[in-house]
Amino acid sequence: MARQIGDVILDLRNISLSFGGVKALTDISFDVREHEIRAIIGPNGAGKSSMLNVINGVYRPQQGEIIFRGQHRRDMDTHEAAAAGFARTFQNIALFKGMTVLDNLMTGRNLKMRCNFLQHALWWGPAKREELEHRRKVEEIIDFLEIEHIRKTPVGRLPYGLQKRVELGRALAAEPQILLLDEPMAGMNVEEKQDMCRFILDVNDQLGTTIVLIEHDMGVVMDISDRVVVLDYGRKIGDGVPDEVKNNPEVIAAYLGTQH
């Protein structure tokens, strides 16, 4: 592949997270390089979503350190994470069902809006120019994701696969540096999965966005990821390029079943 994978931009060191007596994550370390597609896999309850939640500040780990572009931190607020360039999609779709696709994508531009509430209410001068600029950006995303035909459709009326695509669009609207995707292909049929794979690869390739994704479909993960980290019961049991992970006996035992 032609895109250049760069240096480590996100380094997670010895992360431990527990809820009361339940240890969700135990001493996990891995890193994410610029422009790569990094997958997190593991059986149900392995701690994958918790890991994403630690990365974008929803959960505060009890131990460990997160280094993002040279900055050390234990935790940060979700809005700080968003401002730092993290955007994500959710396992269960979190869109505004009654709003149109266009409006949902515009909400993704929230952090980029500079004018205040009053200016926007009057829609005059800089506020108008700003909105036009955001609209143009959103239209580019609509074009990119090929959802022109549903631009003005309320999200609640769309089929599941398209809603997932809209959610990806909203995350893209924030122009993220790191995109966190929580099971972007769950519940999709083969064709929808192929489309989604293509969009993820296109985002990575053309926008240069670094992607961390959780996915259950092994075929998909092995096909599109640069490196894979495997969790099981909150521990890391494997880490490396897809082929390495596929042949790691511990991973096979824990997750993939016996080798064919």
């Binding site: 580019e140 022109e148 003005k152 296109d202 053309q206």
Partner: protein, 653 residues
């Protein structure tokens, strides 16, 4: 009439384009919706772009007489590419953009194409797949650079770069292109359109500037089309209809062509543009009506009652009002009220508020469907023609519309009916030849210069042409009754629940049919009744769906029984196919006509079951997916017997 090179006669398309750039340079020539906004190009800009493109093509080595393949959706730059090729004395060859790679191989080889201009990465990928089989293909130019960053093949060029190179070429040798344009003659071939071919390999129909200009002038004069008209171009560029309406007529009349944002947004784009001149095959009108009906079924009770009431009024008098016939004052009043409450808003939803003239052709249109559009005040008319005649043989004149005819011969066209009922045509719009196929040319043009259409029909007492079926499709039942399968299929297809039908009966004792249900309409119907289903195959096999379709078939039988000519061809048995007929599986042509013979062969086992009196039949069928993979669909199909009706006799004509 042979024009002398260098004269100002407007006898080739490039000369027409340059003349528009001079005469109405500031008017919009073409629009396209991009990033949610309609972008316009004036005639002057269009001419400049085509010029740059032509010089760029010349830089790539495109020469007089060369063929330029054009593959993609309707986009302004692809239309200009056609004219650019013509400027250099070359011949554009548009291909169907949804064809799979292997299907393109034949045309690229047959036309020995050196340069192809394609829309995007998808088309580039297809050409790369077959490039080894097309050794003559030297350059591929793409319009949309998205996704092309990592393609390093030296024979791939972005259209922007080609135009930029062309501009430099044009600046260095400003006379070059004007000389090339001056060399063009009206009798030069202006385009090669490949016929979809219901049988055998496609044939390249060579049409000249003169023939397409004659057809376009005839059509524009007939309907008074002028520079203020607007048309929406959404049908495949490789299809003769699009070439006539979006290219030839646009260049002759100077009206504005609008390209939709994408194939899925046509309905919305149409509403935004509000075309004044519209063309669609019956299938599109059918789909629109189906969508309206689905939405009306979901509407509230009051709205539905209002719709039903006023549609009954429209059915009674709408078409007569449009034709200017006398109508009772009370009906007129009710129609005016309906116009306010139903027809006007409905036309607006369809994007047809501003339509002056709408045409349909390509297949016979169901009379009820046709009447529906006319009754709500849309001047929908039929025309008749084929690729070989620039889609210009018969046009229905305003106010002289007959549901079952396609109108009198168009200006300049001469029609003769052969002894076997076949329609023969002569006029300036006839093809020059089939490309590289003198045998086929000789077969289809007779000694007196008439083109043999292959359609069976006759001229009625008013001189309007009435078409029955394809001459070779018309068959006979064993009892001697004339069997016109299209006629029966069209009746079936008028039901919104039935998408496709294939009738069999030639050389048999009775008529039987395959049915394809319409996934949208039947799916909606099933949802409202709480019938769960997993996909097409599952839905098609539901007993409730069978009962629904049976009702439709019986209604068709009742209608057939009313006409002594066709009463014997009532449908006795039918089955619902387990898969949708698809051009990818060769069951339909790219223009979505059923390939009856192929289907009969492929599903011979089902036909045996139909005629063998079986109650069900297991079948396994291979299907091709869009990405070229193959899969299998299997089902145990139920066969139903249908009620037939005695012939209704003594019905007043």
């Amino acid at each position: 009439m042979v024009a002398v090179p260098g004269t100002d006669a407007l006898d080739t398309f490039p000369r027409l384009l340059l003349s528009h750039a001079r005469v109405r340079g500031e008017r919009a020539a073409i629009r396209e919706k991009d990033l949610g906004i309609w972008q316009s190009w004036t005639w002057a800009e269009a001419a400049r772009e085509a010029r740059g493109m032509a010089c760029g093509l010349a830089e790539l080595g495109f020469k007089r007489g060369d063929r330029l393949a054009i593959i993609g959706d309707n986009r302004p730059r692809l239309y200009w590419a056609m004219c650019a090729a013509q400027m250099l004395g070359g011949v554009p060859v548009p291909l169907y953009q949804d064809a799979v790679a292997q299907e393109m191989t034949f045309v690229l080889q047959d036309a020995s194409v050196h340069i192809a201009i394609v829309e995007d990465q998808e088309q580039v990928d297809k050409l790369l797949e077959i490039k080894a089989q097309c050794p003559e293909l030297q350059h591929i130019v793409y319009d949309d650079p998205r996704g092309m960053r990592h393609y390093t093949q030296p024979f791939l060029h972005g259209l922007d770069e080609v135009i930029a190179a062309g501009r430099i070429h044009d600046a260095n040798q400003p006379d070059f292109l004007d000389q090339q344009i001056a060399l063009g003659r009206p009798e030069d071939v202006s385009i090669i359109l490949y016929t979809s071919g219901t049988t055998g390999k496609p044939k390249g129909v060579c049409q000249t500037h003169a023939s397409f200009i004659a057809a376009a002038q005839g059509g524009c004069g007939f309907d008074g089309l002028n520079e203020s008209d607007e048309v929406l171009s959404y049908l495949p560029m490789a299809w003769v209809g699009d070439h006539l309406f979006s290219f030839a007529q646009a260049l002759v009349a100077g009206f504005t062509v609008n390209c939709p944002e994408s194939g899925d947004t046509v309905m919305t784009d149409m509403r935004e543009i509000g075309p004044t001149f519209y063309f669609a095959p019956p299938r599109v009108f059918e789909n629109l009506l189906t969508q309206v009906m689905i939405r009306m079924e979901d509407a509230g009770r009051i709205k539905r009652a209002m719709f039903d009431y006023f549609m009954a009024v429209a059915k009674r008098c709408g078409a007569d009002i449009l034709d200017g016939k006398p109508v009772a004052a009370k009906d007129r009043l009710l129609y005016a009220l309906g116009e306010l409450l139903v027809y006007g808003p409905l036309r607006n939803v369809l994007g047809m508020s501003r339509i002056r003239v709408a045409y349909t052709a390509g297949a016979a249109i169901g009379p009820d469907l046709f009447r529906f559009y006319r009754s709500i005040g849309i001047n929908l008319k039929q025309l008749y023609g084929q690729t070989e005649t620039c889609a210009y043989v018969c046009l229905q004149p305003d106010r002289q519309i007959k549901l079952d005819s396609v109108g009198p011969p168009a200006p300049g066209v001469e029609i003769k009916i052969a002894a076997n009922g076949e329609i023969l045509v002569k006029g300036p719009m006839l093809l020059k030849e089939y490309y590289n196929r003198p045998d086929a040319t000789a077969e289809s043009i007779n000694a007196e210069g008439y083109f043999m259409t292959g359609d069976a029909g006759f001229l009625d007492q008013d001189g309007h042409l009435k078409i029955i079926d394809r001459a070779k499709d018309v068959g006979k039942l064993n009892n001697g009754a004339v069997f016109a399968p299209n006629y029966i299929e069209n009746k079936l297809k008028f039901f919104s629940y039935i998408k496709e039908a294939v009738a069999f009966g030639n050389g048999r004792d009775m008529v039987c049919a395959f049915i394809n249900i319409d996934m949208g309409a039947v799916g909606n119907w099933a949802e409202r009744r709480g019938i769960p289903y997993a996909g097409y195959t599952d839905l098609a096999g539901k007993p409730e769906v069978y009962a629904l379709v049976q009702e439709c078939v019986e209604q068709v039988n009742a209608e057939l029984a009313r006409d002594a000519m066709v009463a014997d061809t009532q449908i006795h048995r039918f089955l619902i196919l387990h898969k949708e007929l698809d051009p990818d599986d060769d069951e339909l042509t790219r223009t979505r006509k059923v390939r009856r013979g192929f289907i009969a062969q492929k599903y011979a086992i089902l036909i045996d079951a139909l005629y063998g009196g079986k109650q069900n039949q297991y079948i396994e069928t291979e299907v091709k997916f869009e990405d070229g993979r193959k899969g299998k669909v299997a089902a145990d199909l139920v066969i139903r017997d249908v009620k037939t009706f005695p012939v209704v006799k003594g019905r007043a004509a």
